[in-house]
Symmetry: C3
Subunit: 203 residues, 3 copies
């Protein structure tokens, strides 16, 4: 599956809903043993106007991630004055541990592809010109094994992940709703768009 | 303690039971402060006919692991169409995190000694000709400290590990029993023995 | 904030209480967005007579740690015959995983600054002559973002951390009280002071 909104692949609710529907359809197809999600353009998600849309959150929903050294991962929620969403406060610590998740989410720092692989945020580093082929090879590696064993093992390893993420998302939404009403959120959105530090007042 | 079934050190129920009995006997001996478990032959566990016997599971029962760069770690359960066992779906994520455990268990990939140490699957990398000596030195390092403090600290850090592993093993056995009846399991065992990808049908 | 007890910055109850009071006061100050805790002298905490005082435990209370390559991290509790304290049996596995925490706490090994950063025990490696400046820059990076979003995100990521650490500290104190009465504890304190291995009897 490929997202066609180059170059920045901005995400919105409709796109997320389309993706979810497509995943559910493929899930019912016995012949489908792995899904490769990619995005047209320079990178999976990027953009000068990047404003904490759920790109990182979406990337963490996949079982595996293949990244180029040029890839950048960031969740800059605190810079725009809100709380992280899309389950990130559960999925990110699950992947890279609570400490590195805290570093990323309290600073809003961008992590490059090599650091992402070293931390476990991505599973494999591939040069940009081999990224698709390598991601396909990883999907094929999973698809090659016995499908019932894959489904059963994956279910065990994910355990209550979907329920936990759902509960965490509810908590995130409550905090986001509260913070979206603050002066600092308005200032943060403006500051990020103008590529300058925000002038925050704690209100 | 040394396992004498070179060169491949195939494991069976009798061997596991003998090991468990020997551990329990040593555990009652006040003079025993550490146990070093090794295997005669090229490596702790290996073999052209490797068919998801509990080698990796057994290695993860120990407190620490010393590995040579030549060591290979794998759990190829999905290739033979069954679910992992021996508590691996708890002990492996506990050591290397849920993400890398998922990569290993959904692909069946072999991990070399260096990667194992980088991921925390092994605690120390030693050249093959110093492996025993280095493992002995690590055991001696633990044995040198105050035994009651070691017992108490180890119990705290393991917490409910034994109970959790037991419960997880029951879940694993249920899934294994179910999958062992499938066509794909029979095909998987054959395919691995013939060193070719399985032709799986999802039944 | 700076601890002025060079060169070894020995810690005692009064110092810990003063630190806690100072943190609480700063916490009430809306203008304070980050606290940098440092120690005068060669290193944050060190000392030839290092006897499992809560230095490592205190360092792990902070949100982030900046370390020089020359830094050394150790919890040598088992060498003096007691159980770790100050919440370390929860905070250390939380940062570096249960396996590396077990290696540190069952061997009492010293970990250098580079290993600490590789394991996630410290977040950043800085040369000794830039340590303060880099720690200040990290604090400033956090302080620059919207304060309400920082507070909210940090609370989510720490979740029940304070409660869990409090409960764990109670367990640690029980084990410490019990072990402090042993012959091996007295021998361990002497042995560490005399820089020799202890002669332990398991009593």
């Amino acid at each position: 599956m490929e997202i066609h909104r180059p170059p920045n692949n901005y995400f919105d609710d409709a796109l997320i809903r389309n993706l979810a529907d497509a995943f559910e359809t493929l899930d019912k197809d016995q012949a489908c043993r792995a899904i490769l999600l990619a995005a047209e353009g320079k990178s999976f998600c990027a953009g000068a106007n990047f404003q904490s849309r759920p790109e990182l959150g979406l990337a963490l929903v996949a079982d595996f991630r293949v990244a180029a050294p040029e890839a950048r991962f960031a969740g800059n929620f605190v810079k725009i004055g809100i709380h992280p969403g899309f389950g990130l406060t559960h999925t990110l610590p699950r992947l890279i541990g609570p400490q590195r998740a805290t570093l990323m989410l309290l600073t809003g720092r961008r992590i490059d592809g090599e650091t992402a692989v070293a931390w476990g945020l991505a599973d494999q580093l591939s040069p940009l010109d081999r990224l698709r082929a390598d991601a396909y090879a990883l999907a094929a590696e999973v698809a090659e094994s016995a499908p019932l064993a894959i489904i059963s093992t994956r279910a065990t390893l994910r355990d209550k992940l979907a329920d936990t993420v759902e509960a965490q998302t509810r908590h995130e939404l409550r905090e986001q709703s509260r913070l979206m009403k603050t002066e600092d959120h308005r200032e943060g959105v403006k500051a990020v768009a103008e590529r300058r530090p925000g002038r925050f007042v704690g209100k």
